[in-house]
């Protein structure tokens, strides 16, 4: 029997390898974007000489392989490079502020994104688990159907539509929550949570369906097992049969779906950020793509990839740990 530590180490190495491959893919993909920063920034005044000068300044005239390894080497030391756009801005104004590095730009935005993801997860994960367990308990009942229809229609609607519906009901008709979520660093935690609640609710509607339906399916899948029949024949209540006997054996698929949805919350929420004017990393990323700010785009992509890999890695480890055969070898 392979020990748990060995499996964990294997997954860790595999995760790092994946991250390395992804970094190559990101670099190639970003370099294949049409147009370049020099042309985008100079616009009408893009004379060949000016373009050439800016390209030389930013090191864009180097061959791609060399640029990749320079970037990778610096990234490994924690230096994600300087934002083209900010560096340029600093040149124009003559000020040299600390905010020109990619890391300094991304850090507050990323913290905001994590905050939004955290608030959403704190609402969505318990709600979907409870709904999923109840749907399994009262399967094929009216409750099950209503829960299914509600979550499926919310996942099928565009995010911005859900966002506007929530704004209409919770901000316009009943002014309970602010419709704008522009948070600042000097706000208190309470204020931040209040501002973040509406986008978090929108995202909850988006991610609940997956997690709830997987919880329900994973539990129902086990209900025909002999040990569930045994639990029933011991005269246990239906809720105890499901929570105590089915759920612990259904954890692996549920954990995996939760991880995928959390990764989505970190990487895929730009639409919701735009609707609520929330200063997350998604907007920063889209802006950077628009003006071909290559270091910024690469850094964002790398963070997204790392988030996916890290969450899937944790899900893997947790599902392995949920298996008593591995936790308690013979």
């Amino acid at each position: 029997m392979v020990s748990v530590t060995r499996i964990v180490l294997q997954r860790l190495v595999l995760g790092l390898l994946t991250l390395f491959v992804v970094s190559i893919v990101i670099f190639i993909a970003v370099n294949m974007l049409p147009g370049d920063f020099a042309q985008a920034i100079l616009g009408q005044g893009a004379t060949p000489e000016a373009v050439e000068a800016i390209r030389r300044d930013l090191g864009l005239d180097q061959p791609p392989v060399i640029r990749y390894f320079q970037w990778l080497g610096r990234a490994l030391q924690g230096d994600l490079g300087s934002s083209f756009a900010q560096a340029n801005f600093a040149n124009f104004t003559g000020t040299e502020s600390g905010a020109t590095t990619v890391a300094a730009q991304i850090a507050p935005r990323f913290a905001n994104t994590m905050f939004l993801a955290g608030v959403t997860a704190a609402i969505a994960v318990p709600v979907s688990l409870v709904l999923g367990i109840l749907a399994a308990l009262y399967r094929n009942s009216a409750f099950d159907r209503v829960a299914n229809i509600f979550t499926l229609s919310s996942i099928s609607s565009p995010e911005f539509f859900l966002a506007y519906v929530l704004i209409l009901f919770l901000a316009v008709l009943n002014p309970l929550l602010p419709s704008l979520s522009n948070i600042y660093s000097d706000m208190t935690l309470g204020q931040r949570v209040e501002r973040t609640l509406l986008p978090a609710l929108t995202l909850t509607l988006v991610v609940t369906a997956h997690m709830m339906r997987m919880t329900r399916a994973a539990i129902i899948n086990l209900l025909a097992s002999p040990y569930i029949e045994m639990a029933r024949l011991k005269g246990l209540s239906p809720l105890r049969v499901i929570v105590h006997h089915a759920l612990p054996n259904a954890l692996a698929p549920i954990i995996n779906v939760i991880a995928l949805n959390l990764a989505y919350l970190i990487t895929g929420v730009v639409v919701v950020e735009v609707v609520f004017v929330y200063p997350g990393i998604g907007q920063l990323f889209v802006d950077a793509v628009k003006i071909r700010d290559i270091p910024m785009v690469q850094a964002c992509c790398l963070i997204f990839a790392a988030a996916y890999i890290l969450l899937n890695f944790s899900a893997d480890i947790l599902s392995i740990l949920s298996n008593p055969r591995l936790r308690h070898p013979k």
């Binding site: 040990y227 011991k234 209540s237 055969r325």
Partner: protein, 548 residues
């Protein structure tokens, strides 16, 4: 006359299949007094388990009780509310399932599952129940009774799990326990320990029991009375001794007769004969674990060699070496005197053709999406190169050979066949290659006795007609007695003893062979008692630990 503990009257149960309700139990009466043990016997599909569960007021999904009454100690269970039933289940009526390995929750420790019933029903506190559980483990002669409960199910062997499940059923001191084939999945030597343990504890606590099984010899040891079921109807019921000595119904007699099928002995092997397949000093391993140690035996034309042993003894691994699926570390497989390449990938098509296999689970060995004609036609085309009408004609011949009408079965799917018919298709598929040598891996262990007998007779007939050589892997000595000529006994990856069947079944035996042979239940109701006396209680498996 006191009221019976369990009283079933005119019980009818229906099962749902394709939008219609078909009867499973057609009106059964049953009485069980306190402290009595009733044996329910019948083939699969007879409705034994359904009836056993119905005695608990429980039906599986897709089944319903359509008429009749089930009265437990004066409480009507049919149409009783879920709460009424929950108050009885586990507390006053308990259940012991066929596969303890599947019926223990893999996520919780044994003792946690043991104490759950008493704690939830408010019979005992957790601490009391835990102490009681350990006491019960000791009474059931489980090794390391003090700490076996603190293990997870996967850390405990099948026979021990089955006893732990009996202990769990006892946890609330119920009035009635339903035993649903509790020893079917166990080896004969383990079966004895479990049977003895169950019988003791049921007697000790004067618990009434319904004991469901398809094995007559087992039920003879356990039950005071026996009820025979056939397709949802009662055939007859009588006390055990009457039932064994003087069954009145034809069906019961046929069940009794099954075990008597035996082939006449064959003439001795000529001294100069070359074995069809010869296993020469095979040592094999999975990864670092050596599972076979220097195995050697020969198999001669037209004869059957039975390889016998408990699960884990390496029987099936020998088959994997012969077919080349698992190249041995040392030693060789010879076919008609010439060594075969160890790896099946290096064998010629003709070498592959000569050695075929029939599997235990016909269900999983047949592709569910192919018709019977395709399943048998594939090896016909692959090995013999027959196509079109010739291929079809050959498949029809093969179907006739296994006594299935080609017109009816050619275009059917495996799911439309019964278990015995599927196993026949497995045989036909092996025959399609026109091999000289066939490995039968537990081919009858998933089948009912009557059906299994049919398969064994078919195998015997085919051997006589086609001169086939069989290697039969089995843990069932009745099968060996029925069709084998030679016998190889294996234990822990070694050959313990081998020789002609007559010689092997007659004393003196190697101690392990003796243990194996004497563990096969006999129809005599006093067999278990006598055997236990003979062996002495301490000798039963790992019973040495703990006091009685």
């Amino acid at each position: 006359m006191t009221q019976p503990l369990l009283k079933i009257r005119g019980l009818k149960i229906e099962g749902r299949s394709d939008e219609t309700w078909t009867p499973i139990i057609n009106g059964i009466d049953l009485d069980l007094n306190r402290g009595d043990v009733l044996g329910l016997i019948g083939e699969s599909g007879a409705g034994k388990s359904t009836l056993g569960l119905a005695a608990m007021g429980f039906t599986r999904d897709g089944c319903r009780i359509s008429a009749g009454s089930v009265e437990f100690d004066g409480i009507e269970l049919v149409n009783a509310s879920a709460a009424v039933k929950r108050a009885l289940l586990g507390k006053r009526i308990a259940y012991v399932a066929q596969s303890a390995a599947a019926s223990f929750n893999p996520a919780h420790r044994l003792i946690d599952q043991h104490t759950e019933g008493p704690v939830q029903h408010g019979v005992m506190s957790r601490a009391e129940s835990e102490a009681d559980g350990i006491e019960l483990y000791r009474k059931l002669r489980l090794p390391n009774a003090d700490d076996i409960g603190f293990r997870y199910p996967h850390q405990v062997s099948g026979g021990q799990l089955q006893r732990a499940m009996t202990a769990m059923a006892m946890s609330c001191r119920p009035d009635l326990i339903i035993f649903d084939e509790p020893t079917t999945a166990l080896d004969v030597t383990t079966q004895i320990e479990v049977l003895a343990a169950i019988r003791d504890i049921v007697q000790q606590f004067d618990t009434a029991a319904v004991y469901i099984t398809h094995d007559l010899a087992v039920v003879a040891q356990m039950a005071d009375r026996i009820k025979v079921l056939l397709q949802g109807d009662e055939v007859e019921e009588a006390d055990t001794r009457t039932m064994l000595s003087a069954p009145t119904e034809e069906y019961t007699k046929s069940l009794w007769a099954v075990r008597r099928f035996q082939r006449p002995a064959k003439p001795a092997i000529p001294a100069d004969a070359t074995p069809v397949v010869s296993v020469r000093g095979i040592t094999a391993a999975y990864a670092a674990t050596t599972v076979l140690h220097d195995i050697s035996f020969d198999m001669y034309a037209g004869r059957t060699v039975a390889v016998v042993g408990e699960s884990g003894s390496g029987k099936s691994t020998v088959a994997r070496c012969i077919t080349g699926l698992l190249p041995p570390k040392s030693g060789a497989i010879e076919f008609m005197g010439t060594a075969l390449p160890a790896d099946y990938r290096k064998r010629s098509k003709d070498q592959l053709r000569q050695i075929q296999m029939i599997y235990q689970m016909a269900d999983t060995a047949l592709n569910p999406r192919k018709t019977i004609g395709q399943i048998i036609g594939r090896p016909v085309e692959f090995y013999l190169g027959l196509k079109g009408a010739k291929r079809r004609a050959r498949v029809e011949d093969l179907l006739n050979l296994i006594e299935l009408e080609p017109k009816i079965y050619f275009d059917r799917l495996p799911s439309e066949l019964s278990g015995g018919q599927k196993q026949r298709i497995g045989i036909a598929r092996a025959l399609a290659a026109e091999p000289q040598f066939i490995i039968c891996d537990e081919v009858t262990s998933a089948l009912d006795q009557l059906v299994a007998e049919g398969i064994l007779k078919l195998l015997a007939r085919l051997q006589d007609e086609l001169g086939l050589t069989y290697m039969v892997i089995t843990h069932d000595l009745a099968t060996v007695r029925a069709i084998a000529d030679e016998m190889v006994v294996m234990k822990d990856g070694r050959v313990v003893e081998q020789g002609g069947k007559e010689q092997m079944f007659a004393p003196p035996h190697h101690p392990y062979t003796d243990l194996l042979l004497s563990s096969v239940p006999e129809m005599d109701p006093d067999w278990l008692t006598c055997l236990l006396e003979e062996r002495g209680v301490d000798n039963i498996g790992d019973a040495a630990v703990g006091k009685m």
